[in-house]
């Protein structure tokens, strides 16, 4: 399996707080990797380092074998890495169509072509009435537009930061299907940062567990779920199954 993303001993601290400590992980082609851990484990910080929003103190990030450490976010997107945000950042005053077309502009020059691409993605995600403003949508639609905007940039690697947070169980099931479909249809690799266990355990080929900035476990979902260390960080001393 070809390696798409390789993060090597990434460390990032804010003042005295080490948010990510000597963290390494790899993502293979077509793989869905779940990245889980308690609040403050450093998952989002790591995502920000990979996508160029933060520069690591040390360590390197390679994408398709190329060192992308410290490149600005838009250049990393051009290379083929897209992301969504934990606190979604919608283009509130733009229509769904415009917002997604803006994402396509990184690959195509003409607006007509960008709209065509956006329309395809809108149909794929089954978003209704794309002339609505992004500021007027419900939670599910907001998440889908955020996803669509990232997909429009034609990424080889897509990093999702808590895409399922705030969704109802039935919507989580839908999202699970959508993510698998995205991987198959668009042929990309996914990193799913998530607290919602049914989603992350359901879609991931492999799960990486972070705690206090370090990797504490890695493996297939069922292996990780039964790992005593993981159970301890999630549930403390009491024993039980790892559930959201």
């Amino acid at each position: 399996m070809k390696t798409v993303l390789r993060a090597q001993s990434v460390t990032k601290s804010f003042g005295g707080l080490v948010a990510v400590r000597n963290f390494s992980m790899e993502v293979g082609e077509g793989e869905i990797v779940g990245l889980i851990g308690p609040n403050g484990a450093g998952k989002t910080t790591f995502l920000n380092v990979v996508t160029g929003f933060l520069k690591p103190d040390s360590g390197r990030v390679f994408f398709m074998g190329e060192d992308i450490t410290g490149l600005p976010p838009h250049k990393i997107c051009i290379k083929g890495v897209a992301r969504t945000f934990q606190l979604i950042k919608p283009f509130s005053k733009m229509t769904i169509l415009d917002a997604i077309a803006a994402g396509a502009l990184v690959r195509v020059r003409s607006k007509v072509e960008a709209y065509r691409r956006a329309q395809e993605i809108i149909e794929f995600l089954r978003l209704r009435n794309p002339k609505r403003l992004c500021g007027s949508l419900n939670v599910v639609e907001e998440k889908l537009v955020e996803l669509g905007r990232a997909l429009a940039t034609k990424p080889k690697l897509l990093l999702l930061d808590e895409i399922a947070a705030g969704l109802r169980p039935s919507e989580i099931e839908e999202m699970k299907k959508t993510l698998k479909l995205i991987r198959d249809e668009f042929g990309l690799s996914l990193v799913v940062v998530e607290h919602v266990m049914p989603l992350v355990m359901g879609v991931s080929d492999r799960v990486v567990v972070m705690s206090s900035g370090s990797k504490i476990a890695e493996g297939r979902p069922e292996e990780v779920a039964s790992n005593p260390k993981v159970i301890t960080i999630y549930l403390g001393e009491r024993r039980g199954r790892a559930r959201g």
């Binding site: 996508t51 929003f53 600005p72 976010p73 838009h74 997107c77 051009i78 897209a82 992301r83 945000f85 950042k89 919608p90 283009f91 509130s92 005053k93 733009m94 415009d98 917002a99 077309a101 803006a102 994402g103 502009l105 990184v106 020059r109 003409s110 607006k111 960008a114 002339k131 992004c134 905007r149 990232a150 429009a152 940039t153």
Partner: protein, 313 residues
Amino acid sequence: MFRQPLSPKGFLTLLAIVALLSLPFIIRHEYWIYVLTIGFYYAILASTWNVMAGYLGRVSFAHAAFAAIGAYASALSVLHLKVHPVLGMAIGTVTGAVFSFFIGYLSLRLRGVYFTLSTLAFAEIFRIIVTVEYEYTRGSLGLETEHLIVTMSYIPYYYVALALLLGTVFSTYLILNSAFGLKIMAVGNSEEAAEAIGIDSAKVKVVTFLYVSALTSLAGAFYGHFIGLVSPEVGAFDQLALIIAMTVVGGMGTLPGPVIGALLLEFFSEYLREFGIFRLLIFAGLIIVTVRFFRRGLYGTLKERLISVGGSP
């Protein structure tokens, strides 16, 4: 979006243009032609400020200063290089563009409020320099300059100003509806999200600021050769306040809003001239009422109402 050959919007636009073109034949008063010409000048300034504040989401406090830069650059080159005012206006435009490039390059790459603070500092420094420096600028007395057209009537100026305004609005329309326009709006909505989808936000901001400032300088240069006098007042803070008020009252983030706001407020301010200094009070009240009851401005509110009634957006 605007795919129909002649939408109601297109029809209204055409109607407004025809009305403005034929107005000098209807209004025979030179005075009101003069007022309208000044109104067009403000409409250009409000329209360009609106591109920054309403679409790119960046507030520039150097907007009036750029009009003054254009006016001074043009007047000085006409005076010293003995060029025709038309060439002077071109020099004024380029000068504004150059200044805006440096300010934009230095301050627009920062996030947050730094750009606004930088423009405020720049505008004040510029105003103080032209006021204090007497040798070239004649300080607060103002610099006399040649008129653009040798004529007894204001009508030729009216058409030049109208042409500049239509050019500004039309080019802005084209830009906002282009691929680059999508990028401007994306950056205006969320800079981080824009960067995450591969938009070089620093470049988008610098280019937009350059476009806006060049047009503003052109308008300022025209204004100088229309009045025949360039003074530090052109770039003063109250001028900026007026531009902002016009944009907000008309409808920020809409294309016709600033034009409507500028013409309306200029008209009002002339109408209320007999109240002397008190007209500023009436003016302020008008702005407060608009902002309180028509938060999206007159045009913005009207548009919103029409859409909610059932017209297609």
